[in-house]
Amino acid sequence: MNRDHDFKTPLDVAALREDFPVLDQEVRPGVPLVYLDNAATSQKPYVVIDAMNDFYTRYNANVHRGIHKLSEEATDAYEDARKRIARFVNAASHREIIYTRNTTESINLVAWTWGRTNLGPGDVVLSTEMEHHSNIVPWQMIAEQVGCEVRYVPAREDGEFDWEAFEGLLDERVKLVTVTHMSNVLGTILPVRRLADAAHAVGALFLVDGAQSAPHLPVDVQAMDADFFAFSAHKMLGPTGIGVLYGRRELLEAMPPFMGGGDMIKRVELAASQWNDLPWKFEAGTPAIAEAIGFGAAVDYLEKIGMENVHAHEVAITGYALERLAEVPGVRVLGPADPTHKGGVAAMVMDDVHPHDIAQILDHHGIAIRAGHHCAMPLHQSYNVVASARASFYLYNTFEEVDRLVEGLYAVKETLTF
């Protein structure tokens, strides 16, 4: 029942879908999968799976150690992926790209190294109510250790960033402004360059949680003037278990290491040790080698499609979804109403129906969404809802899948409303 509409995508989605083996399946006979849980994790194209498979079948070895062919080949692939990721976010140098496990670890790295040595009583970390728990809890933990304060810019009813409230909370006591680039619930895209300028004007550093933006928007860490930018591979077609912390070189040079161990040292003596150069100073122990190589393949794939095109596709599909969801009685989508102000996310509440029941019945129709608080409990509290049902889109989602979602929601209403 796909209808004529004005939303145009620049992508050949049918051709793209051929690259993603998971998408071509029925969850039960006659019920094809509709995967709309991309904000949680994305599916992986063959090029990523093949790159990792190739590493394990052809040249598996540890990196930075062995003087043998396989180890050299593994080291080259691991470091070459870093250079491609650096180019993808336009870092000035690959030495500013620290491999971590994920966005959460990247933020924790900053908290436990820069935060613990630079924050103290009287200092303020300024964040927002829109954050994922991974950009709230590490700062609460550091605040408890060093005695600093954490402030939050409140969420606005319409889901847009509250610039006035932000300015009211920003003063010279603020040492770090740490915000999400794109809310994982509302989809709100924050004005990161303006925030960077405002933070720097009071002498604060600026950290961006890019977990939701790096997969969906063109990202240029220099143009946005971020001091730190954190993101995860698995939400952008890459494997789980690998993420990145981008940091400005002089900041990373001055920060103490995060974890101690092999690979992060130049010289070890029993009394003391000397740290390795960037980026390896922050990469203790054997890293996720296959995953880094898979991440490199993922950014190559995204670059070939073009992040402008990915974003344009998502604006189109989100615009279509917002229009169609507005037709379903009793359904309200949280966050900005304008699809050009948000990422490809529609977090819904339905009158008299719990989000768990929405997700369960949609699952029966082959539609995968997420129900719950999406690791953003404070944000849900500010909206006076305990949970929401979130559909999130990516480059391989179609307008027909949005239609399936809407049909599924009608089935939910039929089943559960009295």
Partner: protein, 120 residues
């Protein structure tokens, strides 16, 4: 339709039995599941032999949590405190007659958790 939402469960969700709190009560206990916001408040009256004479409850949440509360609490009348002690997960699942994944199991078992925490 999905087995999980078969008629008996939907009936208990739409028309919950024994809803409304008792006062006074021998058990008066409430608990939330903060992850999904399910909430159950239970009150129970016993006679002098520790046998349940009446129950009343209030709550909100998903169909599974509310239907399981309705089914479980309605079944308590005439049950002794000792019998309540032996109620377990299987008792709830047998009443619901469905299979549940780990996330939904928490929804279904909140009513039992509230009962046990209130009773002991």
């Amino acid at each position: 339709m999905d087995d999980m939402y078969r008629e008996m469960i939907l009936d208990h969700y739409r028309n919950p039995r024994k809803k409304g709190l008792l006062s006074p009560a021998d058990i008066d206990y409430e608990e939330d599941n903060p992850v999904c916001g399910d909430h159950i408040h239970l009150t129970v009256q016993f006679d002098e032999n520790d046998v349940v004479t009446d129950v009343g409850w209030d709550g909100e949440g998903c169909a599974i949590s509310q239907a399981s509360a309705s089914l479980l609490y309605e079944s308590l009348i005439g049950m002794s405190k000792e019998e309540i002690r032996h109620l377990d997960k299987e008792y709830i699942l047998d009443m619901l007659g469905i299979e549940l994944g780990p996330v939904r199991l928490k929804c279904a078992l909140l009513s039992l958790k509230v009962l046990k925490a209130g009773a002991y």
